[in-house]
Subunit: 302 residues, 2 copies
């Protein structure tokens, strides 16, 4: 099974109540690829970085089996940069800086080898770029998953609606689901978003877990309780990467398969938030992941 | 099995984005007794109302098998009154009026017949009043459940700590658990609250469900998703009433018994929020309740 992902590969400055990390590796695509790399080899990356992006980090991704043929490196430009500060309760954050740099005129070009990918993960990015990726595919993928955010609902709603028509699964947070649908009840919101295209709607609620709507069923996966949450950056991307990586590994894209994938995605996100940047996603053992998945099963059993 | 509950029986003015209800019946004890009445007969009420409280409402409680021998009626005084307005997202609310009236000098007196009660539900109220109830018991109860709130942590912490030493289960919301423990992680917060007395800690998270900590286990029950939430008033009390009512009915106060009780409490709360005041808790059939409990089981199965 082949998995292609598009998204940002970036530098972040992050400040949380537990400390700060400067000029660390971030970006949706980075988190997605790392999380998915625990389930599948050869994840195909479509992204862009500047000449400033550390070779060491790219080597690490390759070591984890990530395929970087579709990564554009603009030697004389700078990588996308984001700086943010989390509130004391960690549920909110303020964006301090967004420097698009190489992302400003990013044209995602799929290498020939990528054009028959079966699983597509459209990481959070301009909907026009997500569309450009879908347009270059030469065969119908088995599954398209879209992650997006309120910024695109405010600024590129028409493009977003075009992408939505072509995706199977959307992952957004609860407030975004309410904004996109105009409905306060998540049950009603999911029904409306379903009519926009996606057969499955995944609502990410951070520390409150995630809800999957599909095939007239609802599945709720609580978030694991952790002694320490250090940095929520990338948790949603990591969740999406674990989710799509698990689906790609098993090939089971039924509602039952998706439920399990949600649990694996949540387990990956729990590692992500324990440390700054991508540190929590490095050097995990498959046993570490299966222990957390078992914790999920125990937590909801009655 | 016998169940005794203490708490407020009151009038409420409620304003939500979906409408308003004026001078309707409310109060922690009312919601607790109504919810528990679906599991046990003869719930013993310790509370106070003024001469203004409608006889019809008391008759309805009696019809549901609630024992009002311990309800004091102060003919020439007014009942406790609370007015509140919910925010647009329904997760927050402002208190507009609190008229203590009869509650100002409430001395909870247990009739002789109440003094050997096995299950005690201390509804949200001055900790000193909760203590007075425990002091009048002539035999050690099988289970004491305490509901409280941030107001008592701010204004009567020492008394609250005294009650905590004598309870088996505490139910509070997530922010209150953080305030009481001084810990942001709910996992750590529960451990600290455990050292204050309660063997079991139930954290109510409203639309995000409830978490039970006990016997070195964690159990997470999501809230049911509803097409319409009309009025969250009394949801926490209803949850507590369903929880303790179910425990009293089964007599199983182990961690496994508590898990099931949490699910039944959540099911009762889902009926409560669908309509204003106590309307959602009237005339339910046991089939209505078991349908919702089954929905819970399905929602977390993977």
């Amino acid at each position: 099974m082949s998995l292609l992902t598009v998204g940002t590969v970036a530098f972040d400055d992050i400040e949380t109540p537990f400390g700060r990390a400067e000029n660390v590796v971030g970006g949706a695509c980075t988190y997605i690829a790392l999380a998915a790399s625990y389930f599948v080899r050869g994840i195909r990356v479509v992204a862009v970085v500047g000449g400033d992006f550390p070779k060491k980090e790219l080597k690490y991704l390759e070591k984890r089996g990530v395929d970087l043929e579709g990564l554009q490196i603009k030697k004389n430009e700078k990588s996308f940069f984001w700086a943010g500060r989390y509130h004391d309760d960690m549920n909110g954050r303020d964006t301090l800086v967004t420097d698009l740099n190489v992302l400003a005129d990013f044209d995602p070009i799929l290498p020939e080898t990528y054009r028959h990918s079966e699983y597509i993960m459209l990481g959070n990015l301009t909907p026009a770029v997500q569309l450009r990726v879908l347009d270059q595919l030469l065969s119908k993928p088995k599954l398209v998953v879209l992650d997006t955010m309120n910024f695109w609902m405010d600024n590129a709603l028409e493009d977003l609606k075009k992408v939505l028509k072509r995706v199977d699964v959307i992952t957004i947070n609860d407030e975004e689901a309410r904004q996109l649908s105009g409905e306060r009840s998540l049950l009603k919101a999911a029904k409306i978003i379903h009519t926009m295209g996606p057969k499955y709607i995944v609502i990410k609620k951070g520390e409150h877990g995630a809800i999957l709507f599909g095939e007239d069923q609802v599945f709720y996966a609580p978030a694991l309780l952790l002694p320490q949450v250090t940095d929520p950056t990338g948790a949603g991307d990591t969740f999406a990467g674990g989710f799509v990586g698990y689906l790609c590994k098993t090939g089971d894209v039924s509602m039952n398969g998706m439920k399990k994938a949600i649990v694996f995605g949540s387990a990956m996100a729990s590692f992500c938030v324990e440390r700054f940047s991508t540190e929590g996603l490095k050097n995990l053992k498959s046993r570490d992941i299966s222990v957390r998945v078992r914790q999920f099963a125990q937590m909801v059993k009655f």
